[in-house]
C-alpha cells in the first residue's frame, strides 16, 4: 500500500494544527491516501488538549515572557511544550485494515512503529501496558507527567505522548517525541504560578526522558525522521511516497488558520464563531 509522506518542516503552531486538521477533513470528504507527516514548532509553542481550560493549564504570562505561542489542538489529552521535540501525525481512514477500529489498538500499532525507529538509535522503548494516572494534582495538566496505555516509555520514563481525534471513520493521531527535555521550562510554562516548582522539576526529571538523554549525544531531527519513517514502512508493509498538500487541503489549511487556530477565542476559550461545531457566546 502507498502512503503519502509529508517530510519534516518547522512551522508555527497555528499552521501545524491547521495542516493536521485539513488533511483529516480531506480524508473524511474524499478517499485520500493515508498520510504520515513530521514537523516541529517554530517559535516554540504550548499545545493544549481540546477540552482543557487555558488559564488553568498554562501560565499565559510566562508564555508571553518566553515568546511561546499557545494553540488548542483538535485532539484530546493534556498540555505539551513543543520546543525540542519531533511531532508526528498519522491521518487515515479506519477502512485500510492496517489499524483496528479499536482505539487503543491504533495507539499500539503506531507506538510499535515509533519504537522500531527509536530502536535503530539504540533506544529500547516499551509500551505502557496498563496506563498509570498522575497522582500529583499540580502536574496533571502536563502531558508527559502520566503515560497512557501503549504510549512509549524508556526505563519507565515517558519519551513520547500522543493524542487522537476520530470522526466519520477517519482518525488523526499526532504525538510528540522528545528529542531533548527541559523540565525547568516545562514547569515554568505549564504549571500555575505559585506552585512548588523545585519539587515538580524533580518529579518530571524522574518521569520523563528524551532521545538525547538516552543516546548520550546529539541526534539530528533528520536522522530521527529517517529511522521512524523506515520503521513505519517495515512494520506496516507500506511505501511512503513524498507528497504535499492537495489544493483543497491548502485552501482549507488557510481557512482553518485564520478562522480557528489563530483565533484567540479558540485558543483561550475553545470557541470559534465560524465553525458550526463550536458556538460563540
Amino acid at each position: 500500500m502507498i502512503w503519502r509522506f509529508i517530510s519534516f518542516k518547522r512551522l508555527n503552531a497555528f499552521e501545524n494544527m491547521a495542516i493536521d486538521e485539513a488533511i483529516f477533513r480531506e480524508n473524511q470528504r474524499a478517499d485520500s491516501p493515508p498520510t504520515l507527516r513530521f514537523y516541529s514548532w517554530s517559535p516554540p509553542s504550548v499545545s493544549l488538549g481540546y477540552f482543557q481550560a487555558t488559564s488553568k493549564e498554562v501560565n499565559i504570562e510566562a508564555c508571553r515572557r518566553y515568546s511561546v505561542d499557545i494553540v488548542r489542538r483538535p485532539t484530546g489529552g493534556k498540555a505539551v511544550l513543543h520546543e525540542n521535540d519531533l511531532t508526528y501525525a498519522v491521518i487515515t481512514s479506519e477502512c485500510n485494515q492496517l489499524f483496528p477500529t479499536d482505539i487503543l489498538g491504533t495507539y499500539k500499532v503506531i507506538s510499535g512503529c515509533i519504537a522500531g525507529g527509536l530502536s535503530e538509535l539504540g533506544i529500547e522503548a516499551e509500551m505502557e501496558g496498563d496506563g498509570r494516572s498522575c497522582q500529583d494534582d499540580s502536574l496533571k495538566a502536563a502531558c508527559f507527567s502520566s503515560p497512557s496505555r501503549y504510549e512509549l516509555l524508556v526505563k519507565k520514563k515517558k519519551i513520547c505522548g500522543s493524542a487522537q481525534l476520530r470522526s466519520k471513520g477517519v482518525f488523526l493521531q499526532h504525538g510528540s517525541i522528545l528529542v531533548d527535555f527541559d523540565p525547568l521550562k516545562t514547569c515554568a510554562l505549564l504549571l500555575p504560578q505559585g506552585s512548588d516548582q523545585t519539587l515538580q522539576v524533580r518529579k518530571l526529571r524522574g518521569s520523563v526522558t528524551s532521545i538525547h538523554e538516552q543516546v548520550g549525544a546529539s541526534v539530528s531531527v533528520e536522522n530521527i525522521c529517517h529511522v521512524i519513517k523506515k520503521s513505519f514502512e517495515k512494520k506496516l508493509n507500506i511505501e511512503l511516497v513524498e507528497g504535499c498538500l492537495t489544493a483543497y487541503e491548502e485552501s482549507l489549511k488557510l481557512r482553518l488558520m485564520n478562522d480557528k487556530y489563530m483565533n484567540d477565542k479558540w485558543n483561550m476559550e475553545g470557541k470559534v464563531a465560524s465553525d458550526g461545531r463550536k458556538n460563540s457566546d
Binding site: 488538549g49 481540546y50 477540552f51 483538535p74 485532539t75 484530546g76 489529552g77 483496528p100 477500529t101 479499536d102 482505539i103 487503543l104 489498538g105 495507539y107 496506563g131 497512557s148 493524542a163 487522537q164 481525534l165 476520530r166 470522526s167 466519520k168 471513520g169 482518525f171 493521531q173 475553545g270 458550526g276 461545531r277 463550536k278 458556538n279
Partner: protein
C-alpha cells in the same frame, strides 16, 4: 453481545434516534460508550442552532481521545440534556435513556429511511467487533 432497543434507529457512527412525531432525541449507543471507555467531557450545541445529518453535533472526550458525535438526522435543536453536562457519567451508565444528548425538530423525516433498525445495527457492530 449488547441489546439495542427496538424502538430506536441507529447510524453507523453509533448514534441512536428516538422519534416522537417530528421530534428526534439523539444519544450514543451502549456499544459506543463501552468502546470509548470513561467519558471525561462533552460539548453540545446550543438550543436553536441547526444540525445537518452526517455532520458533528457535538464532541466528546474519553481517556482514549476526542470523538465527534455525528448526527443521524437534520434539524433545529430544541433541547439539550443539561443533566449530562452536570454528570457526564450518565452517558456511560445509561446511554440509551437518561444519557440522551439532544432533541431536535427534524427538517426531513425521510432521512430516517437511511438509518439502521436494531437488528441491522446489531449485525453492523458484530462485524466491526470481529474486525478488531
Amino acid at each position: 453481545m449488547k441489546v439495542f432497543p427496538d424502538d430506536l434507529f441507529y447510524n453507523r457512527e453509533h448514534a441512536w434516534v428516538r422519534v416522537e412525531g417530528e421530534l428526534a432525541t439523539i444519544g450514543i449507543t451502549d456499544y459506543a460508550q463501552e468502546k470509548l471507555g470513561e467519558i471525561l467531557a462533552i460539548e453540545l450545541p446550543e438550543v436553536d442552532s441547526y444540525v445537518e445529518r452526517d455532520e458533528p453535533f457535538g464532541t466528546i472526550e474519553s481517556a482514549k481521545g476526542v470523538f465527534e458525535l455525528i448526527s443521524p438526522v437534520s434539524g433545529a435543536i430544541v433541547s439539550v440534556n443539561e443533566d449530562i453536562l452536570d454528570d457526564i457519567g450518565i452517558v456511560n451508565s445509561d446511554p440509551h435513556d437518561t444519557g440522551w444528548m439532544i432533541t431536535l425538530e427534524m427538517s426531513d423525516s425521510e432521512e430516517l429511511d437511511d438509518l439502521l433498525d436494531s437488528r441491522e445495527y446489531h449485525d453492523f457492530v458484530l462485524k466491526e467487533a470481529e474486525s478488531d
